[in-house]
Subunit: 235 residues, 2 copies
């Protein structure tokens, strides 16, 4: 199963984030044998930079890192990428596992782990991801959204969005074509405890439209309203 593709031409790249050199080295060997190329990083910020410059197919992140922890790295990556993320940890505490999984991790593996299990879990995650498709940037008509760089352009011109506006646009664009309920948007952007505060949502949608929608048009081109239900990004 591991080498059913006989093409060593361009092996899938896996970001390995761990500050213990011996772990990195071990993973490098294991991954190469399984047909992957390990991209090592020792710190969270280094990992995030590497991922932004050239997105890998997947990431293996240790929970303990010098700067940010693995959960935070997971969260930052998830802001723009849907790549499989496996979190490694020596501690098997349930609270940590739940936090990591809720942050968007695909799996949580406690050390010591068998290398075959690790590879199997990685491949399972990649198999699933292969069905979906992750996109670091989204383009539609004249609107360009760079999720990783957090930049939005209209007709090439950068548009400044506030944090909430960008999060709103991201949530909508990630699910383009699909309807996003008021509650879903509120939960994703403001947090689950704000699912009933619809008025601020309206206000920010209005401001967002003012910045990205063409001023002349009568009907919105990108964000359309589903009365009584929510909003959707046109597809």
């Amino acid at each position: 199963m591991s080498l059913q593709e006989p093409t060593p031409a361009k092996p899938p790249r896996v970001l390995v984030v761990d500050d213990e050199p011996q772990i990195v080295r071990a993973l490098k060997v294991v991954l190469r044998e399984a047909g992957f190329e390990a991209v090592p990083a020792e710190t969270a910020s280094e990992a995030l930079d590497l991922a932004a410059v050239r997105p890998p197919e997947a990431a293996i992140v240790d929970l303990v890192l010098p700067d940010l922890d693995g959960v935070e790295v997971t969260r930052r990556l998830r802001e723009w990428s849907q790549m499989p993320i496996l979190v490694l940890s020596a501690v098997g505490e349930e609270e940590q596992k739940v936090r990591a999984l809720e942050a968007g991790a695909d799996d949580y593996i406690t050390k010591p782990f068998g290398t075959r299990e690790l590879v199997a879990r990685l491949q399972a995650a990649l198999r699933r991801a292969g069905r979906a498709e992750g996109e670091p940037s989204i383009e539609r008509d004249g609107l360009e959204i760079d999720l990783a760089a957090r930049i939005v352009r209209r007709d090439g011109q950068p548009v400044h969005l506030t944090p909430i506006e960008f999060d709103l646009l991201r949530a909508l664009a990630r699910n383009r074509g699909r309807l996003m309920t008021h509650r879903k948007l509120l939960a994703e952007v403001w947090g689950p405890e704000y699912v009933d505060d619809i008025q601020p949502l309206r206000t920010h949608i209005a401001r967002l439209r003012g910045k990205i929608e063409p001023q002349d048009a009568e009907t919105p081109r990108y964000i359309v309203t589903d009365p009584g239900v929510g909003y959707r990004f046109t597809d």
Copy 2:
């Protein structure tokens, strides 16, 4: 007014396959608290039958079963479904994990496990599946209903439906061929306390028909009336 979130009336169904009654009972409670409905099965064949008749959103399968083992169940399910499958086991042997994951399982959890971890892993798997989406859409003649995106098309042309109209159509289409009594429809769309308000139901069925039925035909093609009883979506 009615239900903005389409979910509180119909919790996601999770197939639970385990021959130990106390495990099944425990999972039932845990899953209900997390907002799922557990569909219990004690044997592999029972589980496969249940899944075939009415596919659940996900499955939790014990590795040890009276007839077939969990890996085989996983394999059989994978032949036609991409639902998230979590394999449970008391043995943490690596070989088993690899076999299960390679058979297509999404996760492998060893007992004893924390219930919060289990729920978190289940939700993580469902979240991923939601993005990949094996398209919960229904197609009949020229009518296409995309339940996830909440979009209805006739001959490719999008048709705008109000919330109530869509909920009605969804309730009918989900049970296509089956008769939906007035009371059932009212309970599902308006809520249990409206089961006797038939007149609004008539009005909205009329409006819905006006939008999706071909204008020329005399007899409805999609929604037929069962006089004195209710409506059904033709199959």
